[in-house]
C-alpha cells in the first residue's frame, strides 16, 4: 500500500516527526524511540504494534442493577454535552435512558441538552431554581430508580483542572452518585478534545486523581488533528478509550479501534 512504501525504511527522524505532529509529545516520543532501537528492523511496523498494544486496554465491565450510571466530565468546550447526546442516542435503541443536566452554570446549558434529549428521544431532568449540580444528579437517579429506567447519563459543566473549587464540585457530584452506587459511576468518562496538545495529559491525570476516571472519549477526531496525546495518557494511566467523536451530528460516534487509530496516526 502507499502507506507501507512511504514509511518503510523510515528513519528515526522521520518517525519522530510523525509522532510529534500527532501530539504524542517529545517526552514520550524520545522514550519509545529509544526502546524500539535501530537494528535494521522495519521500525514503523514494530512501533505500530507497540502502540496498538498500549492502546488495547479492557473497557470497564458493567454488571450492576439498573440504572447504570454514566458521568461525563472534561474541560470547557471538549464536547461533553454533544457526547452525552450521542451516547443517549446509542443506548435508547434498546434501553430506557434519562439525562441529568448537571451543568447549572453555563448559559443555555439546559436548553442545549433539552434539544438533544428531544432528538435522541430520551427523558431529561434539568435544575430547578437554585438547585446545585449534585442535587440535579440526586433527583435524576432517584427518578430513574422509581421509574425503572436502565441508564442515567450525567452531563457536567466544563471546568479547567486547575480550578480547585470546580474540581471540588465535581467530587461532590461523584459523592452523590456513591449514595446509589458505592464505587461511583459505572462509566466515569473524561472527554479529550483531539485538537489539544500536551495539556490533555495533565487534564487526564488531575481528573483521574480527583474523581477516578475509568474511560476516555476522544472528541473532534474528524478534524486534521491526530489525537496522539492519548498515547502518553494510556501509558501513564492505563485508561481505555471507549469511543471517538467524529462530528457534530447525533450519530457521529464510533467505537475506538486501536489498530485503525494507529494506522491513521501514521498516514
Amino acid at each position: 500500500s502507499q502507506l507501507f512504501s512511504r514509511t518503510k525504511g523510515a528513519s528515526t527522524n522521520e518517525i519522530e516527526d510523525i509522532l510529534l505532529r500527532a501530539d504524542v509529545g517529545i517526552k514520550y516520543t524520545d522514550e519509545i524511540l529509544q526502546r524500539i532501537g535501530e537494528d535494521g528492523v522495519d521500525l514503523v511496523e514494530v512501533l505500530k504494534k507497540k502502540l496498538v498494544n498500549l492502546l488495547s486496554i479492557d473497557v470497564p465491565k458493567i454488571d450492576v442493577e439498573k440504572p447504570v450510571i454514566i458521568m461525563v466530565s472534561g474541560v470547557n468546550g471538549s464536547g461533553k454535552t454533544t457526547t452525552v447526546a450521542k451516547l443517549a442516542n446509542l443506548y435508547q435503541r434498546c434501553e430506557r435512558v434519562i439525562l441529568a443536566c448537571a451543568d447549572t452554570y453555563r448559559d443555555a446549558a439546559s436548553e442545549q441538552l433539552e434539544i438533544w434529549a428531544r432528538r435522541a428521544n430520551v427523558e431529561i431532568v434539568t435544575s430547578q431554581k437554585g438547585q446545585d449540580a449534585a442535587a440535579v444528579v440526586f433527583d435524576t437517579i432517584s427518578r430513574a430508580q422509581a421509574k425503572s429506567i436502565d441508564r442515567v447519563l450525567v452531563d457536567t459543566a466544563g471546568r479547567l483542572h486547575t480550578r480547585v473549587d470546580l474540581m471540588a464540585e465535581l467530587r461532590k457530584i461523584r459523592k452523590v452518585i456513591t449514595k446509589f452506587r458505592p464505587e461511583g459511576p459505572d462509566l466515569n468518562i473524561l472527554t479529550i478534545d483531539a485538537n489539544l496538545g500536551q495539556n490533555s495529559i495533565q487534564q487526564a491525570c488531575i481528573f483521574t486523581e480527583e474523581i477516578g476516571i475509568n474511560g476516555l472519549i476522544l472528541t473532534k477526531f474528524d478534524g486534521t488533528s491526530k489525537g496522539g496525546a492519548i498515547i502518553p495518557i494510556c501509558n501513564e494511566l492505563d485508561l481505555p478509550v471507549l469511543y471517538l467523536g467524529i462530528g457534530e451530528g447525533i450519530d457521529d460516534i464510533v467505537e475506538f479501534d486501536p489498530t485503525a487509530f494507529v494506522e491513521a496516526l501514521f498516514e
Partner: protein
C-alpha cells in the same frame, strides 16, 4: 524549569569565557525540547532553532563572561518578536460601526468571547450578532450572555446566519452602534460547505476585523487551522482563549507564524470580564516555562 537547566549549563560553560559551537548546540537542543513540550508546532520549532543558530553564530559570544545568558536572552527576544514584539490594539474607524467577526473551530470560546469583547468596549455602544444557526440553543446562549452584560443582541433571522448578519448591519447603522460583534458557528477548516457559508457572511458583513478564536491548549494542528482560515477566509487577528489553565500556549507561536496576524487578546476565565490584552513578552516567558 528552563532557567534552572540553563544555570547548570552556564556553570559548565562559565569560567571558559567563550562558548563553542558545540555548546550552543547543547543549549539549542534544550530549547527545542522546551518549545515542543509547550505545544509549539514541530516545523515552527525546526525553523526557529535554525534561525537562532544563525543568530547565535553571529553574536560576539567569545568576548562575553556569560555566553549562556546571552543565548537565552536572544531566545526570549526572538520569541517575543515572533509573537508580535509589543501588544497590539484594534483601531476604531472615524465613521460607521467597526465590524468584527469571530471565527474558529468548535468549542474554542467564540460565543463567550463575543460577549466579553462587547463588554470591554461597552462605551462603543456595541451590538452582538448571533450568526450561528446550527448549534442547539446558540441564540439562547448569546442572548443570556448579552442580558448579563447588558448589551443588546439582535435576533436570529430566518434561521440563517447570512440573513441575520445582513439585518444586524442594517440595524447597527440605523441605531448608530459603533461596534458590531458577529459570533459565528464553530467549523472545521476542511468543511467546504461551512467555509463557503463564511465567505457569504463575509460578503454581507464586510468585516473590518476577522478574528480567529483559538483554544490556548491547542496542539500541533493549530498551524494547519490558522493557515487554512487565513488562506480561505482571511484573518486580521486572533484571540487565544482558556489561558487561565496551565497550558503553555505554544499555539500562540503557531498562529503568529502561520497566519501572520497579531494576537490581540487572551481569554482568562469563563466570566464576562475574563479577557485581557495579549503581551508578546509575557507569552514568550510562558512558552519557555
Amino acid at each position: 524549569g528552563l532557567i534552572d537547566r540553563f544555570q547548570l549549563i552556564r556553570r559548565k560553560i562559565l569560567g571558559y569565557g567563550r562558548i563553542t559551537e558545540r555548546e550552543i548546540a547543547i543549549i539549542l537542543k534544550d530549547i527545542r525540547i522546551t518549545l515542543l513540550e509547550a505545544d509549539v508546532n514541530y516545523r515552527v520549532v525546526k525553523d526557529f532553532i535554525k534561525e537562532l543558530n544563525t543568530k547565535c553564530a553571529g553574536l560576539e559570544l567569545a568576548k562575553t563572561l556569560n555566553p549562556g545568558d546571552i543565548v537565552i536572552k536572544t531566545v526570549y527576544e526572538e520569541l517575543t518578536k515572533l509573537l508580535g514584539t509589543k501588544p497590539q490594539q484594534m483601531e476604531f474607524k472615524a465613521k460607521g460601526p467597526l465590524i468584527i467577526g469571530l471565527i474558529g473551530l468548535q468549542g474554542t470560546g467564540k460565543t463567550t468571547t463575543a460577549a466579553k469583547l462587547a463588554l470591554k468596549y461597552k462605551n462603543k455602544n456595541p451590538l452582538l450578532v448571533p450568526a450561528d444557526a446550527k448549534r442547539p440553543a446558540a441564540y439562547e446562549q448569546l442572548s443570556q450572555l448579552g442580558q448579563r452584560a447588558k448589551i443588546p443582541v439582535c435576533p436570529l433571522y430566518q434561521n440563517s446566519a447570512k440573513a441575520t448578519v445582513k439585518k444586524a448591519i442594517e440595524q447597527a447603522i440605523g441605531q448608530g452602534n459603533m461596534l458590531v460583534i458577529i459570533d459565528t458557528a464553530g467549523r472545521l477548516h476542511l468543511d467546504d460547505e461551512l467555509i463557503e457559508e463564511l465567505k457569504e457572511i463575509k460578503r454581507v458583513a464586510r468585516f473590518d476585523y476577522r478574528l480567529l478564536v483559538a483554544d490556548g491548549m491547542s496542539g500541533q494542528d493549530a498551524v494547519n487551522q490558522a493557515k487554512a482560515f487565513q488562506e480561505k477566509i482571511g484573518l486580521d487577528g486572533a484571540i487565544l482563549t482558556k489561558m487561565d489553565g496551565d497550558a503553555r500556549g505554544g499555539a500562540a507561536l503557531s498562529i503568529t507564524r502561520a497566519a501572520q496576524v497579531p494576537i490581540f487578546y487572551v481569554g482568562t476565565s469563563e466570566n464576562l470580564d475574563g479577557i485581557e490584552q495579549f503581551y508578546p513578552a509575557r507569552m514568550a516567558q510562558r512558552i519557555m516555562g
